[in-house]
């Protein structure tokens, strides 16, 4: 209010100076012209100073008419900051994590994406600063504008008019920014990023349906069976998960699976995992396992009856051709008896070391026909093999993900830097236009 009082007094001073110039006994038109000019300026300044409250009221009224408000605008800004912060933190973490892995070459595009986000952060900070300044100091900005407007000899007329216009336009325009951004944002961003996160749960069981502990799942790509594209170790209950954000799977994939257990490579049934599967049960038909002992029988052998308890495996089976049965136990399981159709067999165990586990193997021939094999032993537990896991990563999916991340970051850049920039430019142009109406364009002819 004090500023407005001062503005009124200075307007009066301007008026009096105008009158003084008009009363000068100098017959020079160029000097005399300033008299009516200053009188008109002073009257305009007084009108503005008296209407300061009206201008502020007009801002609130316009805001109500357009249906926008400042708390919603700040809520929008906070939501944007939170989303941006989340993505930025995730990207920074991913970039630093990836640096120590074999995919360190990916850290460069991730850093680029992070730099986009940093620019967006700066833009957000600018928006916060500008909007807070307008929201808090709007009335002061108007008052200072009027004060500058009322200075004699049009010293601050242009800038004063701009202050008044900007305080009104920005106050009404800023809360409309979310509506402006959202109306353009939907056009481009919607087609952008889709994170393809598929989850497939796998359960590995033996021929009887009992879970196989710590199975090592080797995944091979559709075309080659050479080097596995992924090695995943299941848990104690034979469960494993692929996808779920841990693996980069392509959109339509088909993977051949082989299970490594106690050093044996076993083809499960089914042996293929493909896109669209959600729960897969991999049955190892040639394996009977219980408490540290595994009996391996070849394909084509029919299991008629089976009784498995800790420390005893008894299997009735039928085969057209004879085969060799493999018995493997962990070091701690001592076999007390191996019986074929009730008669005890002698079997020489050979020790074997695989993936940090010491095991004992023995093999014995089984003739054709129906037979019963019984193994008695002291139960033990099967430790987790020390195998280096290798999550499934397809290069094409990596590119898809990077493209997705970059698209997301560019959409942030678009929504928080480009669109607000354009909007602020529009507001500034409108303020300049209104300032011209208040200062430059308005001409009063009094004399």
């Amino acid at each position: 209010m004090e500023i407005l009082l001062l503005a009124m007094d200075i307007a009066m001073l301007t008026y009096v100076i105008g009158v003084l110039i008009l009363a000068l006994p100098i017959p020079l038109r160029s000097v005399k012209r300033w008299g009516p000019r200053l009188i008109a300026d002073a009257i305009a300044a007084v009108i503005l100073a008296s209407s300061a409250t009206l201008i502020l009221y007009l801002g609130n009224e316009l805001l109500r008419v357009v249906g926008a408000d400042w708390p919603s605008f700040y809520a929008w800004l906070s939501a944007r900051t939170a989303a941006l912060g989340g993505v930025f933190a995730g990207l920074t973490y991913a970039a630093s994590f990836i640096k120590s892995t074999e995919y360190s070459y990916l850290s460069s595009p991730l850093k680029m994406a992070a730099s986009f986000l940093a620019t967006s952060f700066s833009a957000l900070r600018g928006l916060y600063l500008l909007s807070s300044f307008i929201y808090i100091y709007r009335d002061k900005l108007t008052s200072i504008g009027i004060l500058l407007y009322s200075l004699p000899f049009r010293i601050g007329k242009g800038v004063g008019a701009f202050f008044i216009a900007a305080s009104l336009i920005m106050y009404v325009g800023m809360p409309l920014l979310p509506a402006f951004v959202s109306s353009f944002e939907n056009v481009t961003v919607a087609s952008g990023f889709k994170w393809n996160s598929e989850t497939i749960r796998i359960q590995v069981v033996d021929a009887l349906g009992n879970p196989v502990p710590y199975p090592v799942l080797n995944f091979y790509s559709e075309n080659s069976l050479g080097k596995p594209v992924g090695i995943i170790v299941g848990d104690e209950a034979g469960r494993a998960v692929i996808g779920d954000g841990l693996d980069a799977l392509p959109e339509n994939f088909k993977l051949n699976v082989k299970v490594l257990f106690m050093g044996y490579i076993i083809t499960p049934s089914p042996s293929v995992i493909k896109h669209g599967d959600s729960n897969v049960k991999l049955v190892l038909k040639s394996l009977v396992y219980s408490s540290g002992a595994a009996l391996l029988i070849p394909w084509g052998t029919e299991i008629i009856y089976c009784n498995v308890t800790p420390g005893r495996i008894s299997v009735d089976l039928y085969t057209d051709t004879g085969f060799t049965t493999y018995l493997t136990v962990v070091k701690g399981a001592n076999v007390s008896a191996i019986m074929l159709d009730g008669s005890t067999l002698t079997c020489n165990f050979t020790e074997r070391f695989w993936a940090g586990i010491l095991m004992k193997d023995c093999m014995f021939p089984t003739p054709s026909g129906e037979h019963n094999i019984t193994v008695e032993y002291t139960p033990s537990f099967y430790a987790k093999p020390s195998v280096n896991e290798k999550r499934i990563t397809y290069l094409s999916s990596i590119f898809d993900i990077i493209t997705g991340i970059l698209t997301l970051c560019i959409s942030f850049l678009y929504a928080l830097v480009f669109l607000p920039g354009v909007y602020l430019a529009i507001l500034l142009a409108m303020s300049a236009a209104l300032a011209r109406v208040l200062g430059g364009g308005l001409k009063l002819k009094l004399v």
Binding site: E2, L5, L13, V19, L22, A23, P25, Y57
Partner: protein
């Protein structure tokens, strides 16, 4: 002395000078106009000095009234708007 007082004092002083200048202009104007010089341009300058001096005196006299009127009008203009009609 604060800024407001300074500006008000300055205004009063300038107004006093302006009144004095009005008298000077008015006198000089008539003197030039009535001088026995048969040059039309000089007489016209005297005429314009008298006219400007009279206009200045007029604006000076109505100045405070104009300011008061504007303040009165704008303070009456700002009234809360009536509530919107209900169907």
């Amino acid at each position: 002395m604060d800024v407001v007082t300074f500006v008000r004092n300055l205004t009063v002083q300038i107004m006093a000078i302006a009144w004095a200048l009005f008298l000077v202009s008015w006198v000089v104007g008539w003197a030039v106009r009535g001088s026995p010089v048969p040059i039309h341009r000089v007489k016209k300058a005297g005429q314009s000095l008298v006219e400007d001096a009279v206009m200045a005196a007029f604006w000076m006299a109505v100045g405070s009234s104009i300011f008061a009127l504007i303040s009165y009008l704008t303070s009456n203009l700002y009234q809360p708007l009536p509530p919107p009609p209900k169907p």
